[in-house]
């Protein structure tokens, strides 16, 4: 029974689930990556319709995973939700807008009388695919590079003057962002940009591999192969540079006994060495991604996505894990080191984590029905004939 389990373990379990969701989310960004390639891969209207429809059957999974990711963070580490969302306001709002315009684009694009015209909805898909993936990468990168905030729980009761005058901004706020750019300052850190670009090109690579797997159309296939090379090179480049930065940079360690946070050189390298399983899985993940790309370039195959997809999930999950495991402070504040967020100081209560852990036991059931229904409607590739028969076209 879960009752015998410590809060420490529950916090680590929930960080693992969040990491896994993060991994799955980045894999599912193949939808976004694909959206940026509709015009480079589809030269005729028919080809573009095929591309859009192959993505249209999957966009909701990415979207739902993003929503669940947000929900899981809120539920298990509410102080992060409160600090980062309320502070890095503009980054999160921009990400949200990128996803709002995506949600309507598929359903509205090909419908007559749609006010803005198909071109606008395709632009929405393009913005979602480029800016959306890039900004998600930037936001995740701040887990390594830190942010500019303070947390003071006493702020809620610190006011002596008991009047509700309308203060601007809220004086009772327990979390404060110390940069007036409210999150946009993350774009000034080249390391964040590099991870953002790596995610963007990874999404495009995955999008291409997905098309190669799902669409039965020679012209699209050969164009996809060419595009794969152009996108795989920048992806590998940005990703390797980011990994190098990561293993060389210092990090913040949380000392459980004193509740203090201190700086530690080569923290992430130490994490990988001290948790060899993460190192091995990270490397396996990277190799799988590269193998998926390699066989798709060299052979007439459509199964590259399975290797690179699995590899992406593994790699991203491990990267998330080393931001917080091994007493690492996962969101450090460079304006006030003691405001830094750790698994210990930002999580929900023992009881809540326990209840949610029971609920999480249903995740395999969810995965099972997702796989079952995907297989039932995707057992054959999309081709031109199918689009003629299909009654629900995007």
């Amino acid at each position: 029974m879960i009752t015998a389990i410590s809060i420490d373990l529950l916090q680590h379990y929930w960080w693992f689930l969040i990491s896994l969701l993060g991994g799955i989310l980045v894999f599912l960004l193949f939808v976004q990556g694909g959206q940026t390639l509709i015009y480079s891969l589809g030269k005729t209207e028919n080809e573009r319709t095929m591309l859009v429809n192959s993505l249209g059957r999957k966009w909701e999974f990415t979207f739902t995973t993003l929503v669940t990711f947000g929900g899981a963070v809120f539920a298990s580490f509410p102080l992060f939700y409160s600090t980062s969302f309320g502070g890095a306001y503009w980054v999160w709002i921009a990400i949200l807008l990128c996803f709002v315009i995506q949600a309507v684009a598929y359903e509205f694009r090909s419908k007559p009388n749609n006010l803005l015209g198909a071109g606008t909805y395709e632009t929405f898909l393009f913005i979602n695919g480029t800016l959306g993936t890039f900004l998600l990468g930037v936001a995740v990168a701040t887990l390594f590079t830190g942010a500019n905030f303070t947390v003071n729980l006493d702020q809620l009761i610190s006011n002596n003057v008991l009047s509700i005058t309308r203060r601007v901004p809220n004086d009772y706020a327990i979390t404060r962002w110390n940069s007036s750019a409210h999150g946009l300052e993350a774009l000034l850190d080249i390391r964040n940009i590099i991870l953002g670009l790596a995610v963007l090109f990874l999404a495009r690579v995955q999008g291409i591999l997905y098309f190669m797997n799902t669409i039965d159309h020679p012209a699209i296939y050969s164009k996809a192969k060419k595009q794969l090379l152009y996108n795989a090179i920048p992806f590998v480049l940005f990703f390797v540079v980011f990994l190098l930065i990561l293993v060389l940079k210092s990090g913040y360690t949380f000392i459980p006994d004193t509740h203090q946070v201190t700086i530690e050189p080569y923290k992430y390298l130490h994490n990988l060495i001290q948790m060899p399983v993460t190192l091995v899985l990270l490397l396996v993940g990277v190799i799988l991604v590269l193998y998926g790309i390699f066989i798709s370039l060299m052979k007439e195959t459509s199964s590259g996505i399975w290797f690179s997809g699995t590899g992406t999930i593994l790699t991203v999950t491990m990267l998330f894990l080393i931001t917080a495991y091994n007493n690492t402070a996962y969101y450090f504040s460079y304006s006030d080191i003691q405001s830094t967020l750790t698994l210990q100081n930002s999580s929900s209560s023992y009881y809540t984590l326990k209840v949610m852990s029971y609920v999480s036991l249903f995740i395999p059931v969810v995965l099972a029905y997702i796989i079952y229904s995907w297989r039932s409607i995707n057992n054959k590739k999309i081709d031109e004939n199918e689009l003629k028969e299909d009654t629900h076209l995007y």
Binding site: T64, V67, L79, P112, D154, T352
Partner: protein, 520 residues
């Protein structure tokens, strides 16, 4: 509160949340109800094998899909807005509120989004039985999605199943079932989904009647009307029943909201229910609030019966709740404020002892937080310590009053409307009753109005609280500048409005095209 609207960060944050919620709620109820209506239709198709029912199912499913997409688009903003705009709130209640949200993600959203793909793309790919099951699972998934978010909202109206943890300065869940099965949560869920059923029934009937007026799609229209009118009658009766329960719960748990929606300034025994009435603007009363004019239509004793199942029961008015009423054992607002201040000072001392590492005084104060009397007599008024002026404790009476009365009036109208429609279609006289067809067409927007003002009552009536008695709205917002929120408010306003127009245009075009080319 509209009357003292000023462009500060709280007001803009509220405006933005209201905007998003109102837009989101333009699409969600149709999803809730129409998902069941298409599931009934498809069940009839599978049972009878009649291809006509398949055509009908697919026609309404197309409209469902268009509406669903935009509901999803507006929904994601709401979820993240809790963090971006209400960061204090996110921390203060995250331990309770986050759990239902995460559960909603795991259980409901994936159910909905997985099987919606089968529903749309699976017609020629999976068996009839599996397709029908998927359609039902979409309906169930959509409605369970509503459960969790409504549990969270109900908790804000009536906090249950938690305690305050002074070490973390937040509320923590101690009993999940108390949160999930709180009477307010259950009733709110049932009331809300049945409002969606009513809305979708009126939508289906209205559009079908337009076809009858145009003498098109006759079979589709009549079959749809029959089904939707039966669903409508059942749902509207159930809606009224849950509405009644909702009022009774409110009388017990949120007496101030209750008094405001009835415009009841002075409490009374044998309180009558105002069926129809008007308010006069603020009077010279203490506190200055709007009151009902003497000229009104009311049913004697009904309010007392409705709220306490007793014709002689005393229903407290706004004045009692502010100035107190010893005879009725009602504390005055200023007494609640002073008790809240005691709670706040105790909390402050505890935090200081902790900071100074004074373990002895920490331990002794910490004990107070587990004393029943302290929690029940003092800490439950913690939120009042944020207030100096008791007038701030009264929500907008006109907004609450008119929202409530319009909603109830429309609710009664829907019952009559669905019965009329059902009788006409059952006696095969509906095509001749052109007035009824027109009436049905003009009924389409009414449930939208009723449903939106229902939320206005729920949310505005709860003010000044974001969590009843625990956290005032002003203390819940993020530390951002009003200008930033103002910018995003207008961004969202423009974007949602454009998308709404696009949606309406697409839906109208699909309706004009009819069932034969429903998808193209």
């Amino acid at each position: 509160m509209i009357e003292n609207f000023d462009p500060s960060v709280v007001d803009w944050s509220r405006a933005q949340f209201a905007l998003t919620a109102i837009y989101h709620w333009l699409f969600v109820p149709l999803t809730l109800g129409l998902s069941f209506i298409v599931a009934f239709m498809e069940s009839l198709y599978v049972k009878t094998g009649d291809p006509e029912w398949k055509k009908i199912t697919k026609f309404w499913m197309t409209l469902f899909g268009i509406n669903f997409a935009i509901g999803v688009a507006t929904g994601i903003i709401l979820e993240f807005e809790f963090g971006t705009n209400w960061s204090n709130y996110s921390w203060f209640v995250g331990d309770i509120f986050g759990a239902p949200l995460a559960i909603e993600g795991i259980f409901a959203f994936f159910l909905e989004s997985t099987f919606i793909a089968v529903m749309f793309f699976g017609w020629n790919k999976v068996s009839k039985g599996f397709h029908l099951t998927s359609t039902w699972l979409v309906a169930i998934g959509a409605n369970i999605s509503a459960l969790w978010i409504l549990v969270a909202n109900a908790w804000m109206q009536y906090p249950a199943g938690m305690h305050f943890n002074p070490d973390k300065v937040r509320n923590e869940m101690i009993n999940f079932w108390d949160v999930l099965f709180s009477p307010v949560a259950i009733n709110k869920f049932l009331h809300t989904i049945s409002s969606g059923f009513v809305l979708a029934s009126a939508f289906v009937i209205g559009i079908s009647c337009w076809y009858l007026l145009k003498k098109r799609e006759l079979s589709l229209a009549k079959k749809s009307i029959l089904l939707a009118s039966i669903f409508g009658i059942i749902s509207s009766l159930y809606l009224a029943f849950t509405g009644d329960t909702s009022a009774r719960l409110m009388a017990h748990k949120q007496p101030m909201k209750f008094a405001a929606m009835e415009g009841l300034y002075n409490g009374q025994d044998n309180a009558p229910l105002i069926v129809f009435g008007f308010l006069v603007p603020k009077e010279d009363t203490v506190p200055p609030v709007s009151r009902t004019l003497p000229l009104r239509f009311e049913i004697p004793k009904l309010l007392s019966i409705m709220s306490f199942h007793d014709p002689n029961a005393y229903v407290p008015g706004i004045k009692d709740l502010i100035s107190g009423n010893k005879k009725q054992h009602i504390l005055s607002a200023s007494e609640k404020i002073s008790r809240g201040l005691v709670a706040r000072e105790t909390l402050k001392k505890l935090r200081e002892a902790k900071d100074n590492k004074d373990q002895r005084s920490y331990d002794s104060i910490r004990n107070i937080f587990s004393e029943e009397t302290f929690l029940k007599e003092y800490f439950c008024y913690f939120g009042y310590s944020f207030f100096k002026n008791t007038v701030s404790l009264v929500p907008s009476v006109p907004l609450s009053f008119y929202s409530f009365h319009t909603m109830v009036g429309l609710g009664i109208y829907f019952i009559v409307f669905f019965i009329l429609i059902f009788l006409a279609v059952y006696r095969k006289k509906i095509e001749q009753s052109r007035w009824l067809l027109w009436m049905a067409l003009f009924t389409i927007p009414l449930p939208y109005i009723a449903s939106e003002i229902g939320w206005v009552l729920a949310e505005v009536g709860r003010q000044p609280w974001v969590i009843q008695d625990y956290l005032p709205t002003v203390a819940a917002v993020s530390h951002i500048e009003a200008g930033a929120v103002q910018t995003t408010f207008w961004l969202f306003a423009v974007l949602f409005t454009v998308l709404l127009f696009a949606e309406i245009k697409i839906i109208l075009k699909q309706i004009k095209t009819g069932s034969n080319e429903g998808e193209k």
